[in-house]
C-alpha cells in the first residue's frame, strides 16, 4: 500500500517540528486489509451499573456519524450485573450492544477490560471506536490502541467523517490555542477518546429495541495481578462538567484564600467553584476545579469568570456557557469579549456584594463569614 504523509505541523504526540517545512514523502506500508471493517463502537463507561454521561453523549454523536456512514452504531458494555445498562445503551441510541457481564469485572482493571475490548474489536470489526476521555477511558484506550495496533486521537472535541469514511478527529493543541484534525488512514479501527460535556446525548427512548449479544470474559480471576482494594468516593469533589452554575477564579485572585469568596457566591447561586490553569498551577486550588486545557470543558447555564484574563486556553473550555459574567480589574481583559455581562473593578469588593445581593434576591439566609472576608482583605494587600 502506498500513501503520502504530510508533516511539518506538530503531530498527535506533540513532537515539535519547529522550523520544519511541510514535506511529503512516499512511504510503502505493509498494512493488513481492513476493508471489511464497518460500524461504530462506543465503549460504555460505568460505575456500579450506572452509565457515565460521556458514554451517552458519545452514543448521541456516534448516531450522527453512523447516519453519515450509513452504518450501525454499537455499544460495548463491560461489568458485573450490567444487563440493564446494556438495555439502557439501546435506549440511548445503540442499534446493538455487546455485553460482557461477569463477577470478576465488577472493578475496572486495565488488563481484563482491554482483553475484552480487543476480543470484541476482532469479532465485530468496527471502523471507528470511541471512548470517553475520562481517567477510565484514557487508561483503557491507550492499552487497546497499542495492542491492536492502531492510531488513537486523545481528547477530541469535534468528530466528523469524510467522503473516504475517514474519521476526522479534532482536538485542541498548544494549550487549546489551536485545533488540530487528526486522521488515521491505514489502520482500523480508527480510535478516539472524546471529552465529556462536548457532545449531546439523545433523549432516552425506551421504545427503541436492539439485540444484546453476550461475549465471554477473556481472563480468569487468578490471571489478573491487579486488585482494587477500595473505592473512596469523594462526593465533595467538584464535577464541573455536570455543573449548571460555575464561579471560576484566576490569576487575579492572587492566592488561595480569595477562593473562599467565590465559594460563598457559588453557594448562594447553587453552583460550584472553577479555576483557570494559572490558579491551579500555582497550587491555589485543586486540579479538579480547572476549566480549559487539561481540565474540563464546561457548558453551564451561568459562568462567572472572576480575575480571569481570558487566555484562549481558558475561553475554549467555557465559551459554550449560556451566560457569562466577567469581573476584572483590567477593562481591556480579553475575557470581556466573550462575556454577556462585564464589570470592571475590584473583585474583593464586588464578589461579596454580589453574594449578598443574590442571597437577598433569593431570600436565602445571609451567612456572615466576615472573618473570611477580613482574612482575604488582609492577604490581598
Amino acid at each position: 500500500m502506498e500513501t503520502e504523509k504530510v508533516t511539518g505541523v506538530d503531530d498527535a504526540a506533540g513532537q515539535p517540528a519547529a522550523g520544519v517545512k511541510p514535506r511529503r514523502e512516499k512511504i510503502v506500508l505493509d498494512t493488513p486489509d481492513f476493508s471489511d471493517y464497518r460500524g461504530i463502537l462506543i465503549v460504555v463507561e460505568q460505575r456500579a451499573g450506572l452509565g457515565k454521561k460521556v458514554s451517552w453523549q458519545l452514543l448521541g454523536e456516534g448516531r450522527k456519524l453512523a447516519q453519515k456512514l450509513d452504518t450501525e452504531l454499537m455499544a460495548l458494555v463491560i461489568g458485573s450485573d450490567v444487563g440493564e445498562l446494556a438495555q439502557e445503551a439501546i435506549y440511548r441510541g445503540a442499534d446493538k450492544v455487546y455485553l460482557c457481564d461477569s463477577e470478576e469485572l465488577r472493578d475496572y482493571r486495565t488488563r481484563p477490560y482491554s482483553q475484552i475490548c480487543l476480543h470484541a474489536i476482532a469479532t465485530v470489526k468496527p471502523e471507528i471506536v470511541l471512548i470517553g476521555a475520562t481517567y477510565w477511558g484514557r487508561d483503557l484506550a491507550g492499552a487497546i490502541a497499542t495492542h491492536l495496533p492502531t492510531g488513537l486521537t486523545a481528547d477530541c472535541t469535534q468528530l466528523d467523517v469524510d467522503e473516504n469514511r475517514l474519521l476526522m478527529a479534532s482536538r485542541p493543541a498548544f494549550s487549546e490555542k489551536m485545533l488540530a484534525t487528526i486522521l488515521c488512514k491505514q489502520y482500523k479501527p480508527q480510535m478516539a477518546t472524546a471529552r465529556s460535556g462536548v457532545f449531546l446525548a439523545l433523549p432516552r427512548d425506551p421504545s427503541r429495541s436492539g439485540a444484546i449479544i453476550p461475549i465471554p470474559a477473556q481472563m480468569t480471576a487468578d490471571e489478573i495481578a491487579t486488585e482494587v482494594l477500595a473505592f473512596l468516593e469523594q462526593t465533595e469533589r467538584v464535577n464541573l462538567e455536570d455543573a449548571e452554575i460555575i464561579v471560576a477564579g484566576g490569576r487575579g485572585l492572587g492566592g488561595p484564600e480569595p477562593f473562599a469568596l467565590l465559594q460563598e457566591l457559588a453557594d448562594a447561586l447553587g453552583g460550584v467553584v472553577g479555576a483557570s490553569r494559572p490558579a491551579v498551577d500555582a497550587g491555589w486550588i485543586g486540579h479538579d476545579h480547572q476549566v480549559g486545557q487539561t481540565g474540563s470543558t464546561v457548558r453551564p447555564k451561568l459562568y462567572f469568570a472572576i480575575g480571569i484574563s481570558g487566555a484562549v486556553q481558558h475561553v475554549v473550555g467555557m465559551q459554550h456557557s449560556d451566560v457569562i459574567v466577567a469581573i476584572n480589574r483590567d477593562p481591556d481583559a480579553p475575557i470581556f469579549k466573550v462575556a454577556n455581562f462585564g464589570i470592571v473593578g475590584d473583585l474583593f469588593a464586588i464578589v461579596p456584594a454580589i453574594t449578598k445581593a443574590v442571597r437577598e434576591r433569593r431570600q436565602l439566609p445571609f451567612e456572615s463569614k466576615s472573618s473570611v472576608v477580613e482574612a482575604v482583605a488582609a492577604t490581598s494587600g
Binding site: 515539535p16 493543541a173 433569593r362
Partner: protein
C-alpha cells in the same frame, strides 16, 4: 530496586501565543522545560532512592538539546540519564513513541539492572494525550497504574505496590505486582530543588546517548513518521464566541451588584435554574 523515570523536554506551551495578525503560533522565545508532570515521577523515584536505596535512571527521547533536561534530573539526584536521539525517531506519534521508549527501558534493564518501576508524567504539556504511558506499559507487558496521586506502599519483599488512582468521582485504592508502570499527577509530591553536589555533578555529566544503531532488534517500520498511524491533516485557530457584551457600571459595589442581579433575573436563567 531499579526505577526508570521517563521525561520529555517540551516547549512551555503556556508561553506559546497566537499572532493576532497572521493567526499563527509564535514560538520565538518559548522556553524548553522538563514536562512538569514528569518531575513528580522523578521526585517519587528519588523518594524511594532516599528510603530504600533504589537506583534511578532517567530516559528521554528527543533532540540532542534535550540533554539539558536530563542534566536537570541528574542535578536533582538521578543516578544515570539516557537520551535516545536520532533523526529516524522524529515525527513519532504516541504509538511510535511508546515503541521506542519501551525498547529503551528494555535496553536499560538488560544493560544496567532489571527494572521494577517505570514512572511517567500523566501526560505532556505539548501533546496532552496521556497515551504514551499506557502504550509503554502495554509493550513491556507491565502492570499499568495511571493517574496516581499517592504511592501508599512499595513492598520490596512481596514485590507489590499499592497506589491511589485519581478518578472523577473519587479515589481508587489499587494493589498490583511489580514490574509496574505508573503515570503520576502533580498531587503526588513536591519535586525537590537541585542540591549543590547535584548541580556540580550535573555540570560535568554526559548522558548516555543511543541512536537507532544502538538497538539491534529495532523494527524501523515502527519508529518515527513511518511507525505513526496518525497524521495531522489540518490545524486552525477556533472561532471565538460571538456576543454583544453589556458592560455594567454604577457607583459603588452595592449598585453594581443590584444592576447585575437585575440583568440576570431578566434572563430566563431563574426559571431554568429553579431559583427562588
Amino acid at each position: 530496586m531499579h526505577i526508570v523515570v521517563c521525561i520529555k523536554q517540551v516547549p512551555d506551551s503556556r508561553e506559546i501565543r497566537i499572532d493576532p495578525v497572521t493567526n499563527t503560533l509564535v514560538r520565538q522565545g518559548v522556553p524548553a522545560i522538563v514536562n512538569y508532570y514528569d518531575l513528580h515521577g522523578l521526585e517519587e523515584a528519588l523518594r524511594f532512592k532516599d528510603e530504600m536505596g533504589a537506583r534511578v535512571t532517567v530516559v528521554s527521547m528527543g533532540p540532542p538539546s534535550a540533554e539539558k533536561a536530563l542534566r536537570q534530573c541528574i542535578s536533582m539526584g538521578a543516578d544515570e540519564a539516557v537520551l535516545v536521539s536520532d533523526r529516524g525517531f522524529a515525527g513519532a506519534d504516541t504509538l511510535a513513541t511508546s515503541y521506542v521508549i519501551a525498547m529503551t527501558v528494555q535496553k536499560v534493564a538488560a544493560e544496567m539492572e532489571p527494572v521494577d518501576i517505570v514512572f511517567c508524567g500523566k501526560q505532556t504539556l505539548d501533546g496532552d494525550t496521556g497515551q504514551v504511558g499506557p502504550g509503554v506499559a502495554c509493550r513491556l507487558d507491565y502492570e499499568q497504574m495511571t493517574y496516581v496521586e499517592k504511592v501508599v506502599e512499595l513492598n520490596e519483599g512481596e514485590r507489590t505496590v499499592t497506589v491511589h488512582r485519581h478518578l472523577e468521582d473519587g479515589v481508587e485504592v489499587v494493589k498490583t505486582k511489580l514490574p509496574v508502570l505508573i503515570t503520576v499527577l502533580t498531587e503526588l509530591n513536591k519535586p525537590r530543588r537541585a542540591s549543590l553536589p547535584g548541580v556540580l555533578r550535573a555540570a560535568k555529566y554526559k548522558p548516555i546517548v543511543w541512536s537507532t544503531n544502538d538497538f539491534p532488534d529495532l523494527d524501523r517500520s515502527k519508529i518515527g513518521l513511518k511507525g505513526s498511524p496518525t497524521i495531522v491533516s489540518k490545524t486552525w485557530v477556533p472561532e471565538p464566541r460571538k456576543v454583544n457584551t453589556e458592560m455594567i457600571a454604577a457607583d459603588g459595589v452595592e449598585a453594581l451588584s443590584a444592576a447585575l442581579i437585575d440583568k440576570l433575573w431578566n434572563t430566563d436563567l431563574p426559571t431554568r435554574l429553579g431559583w427562588s
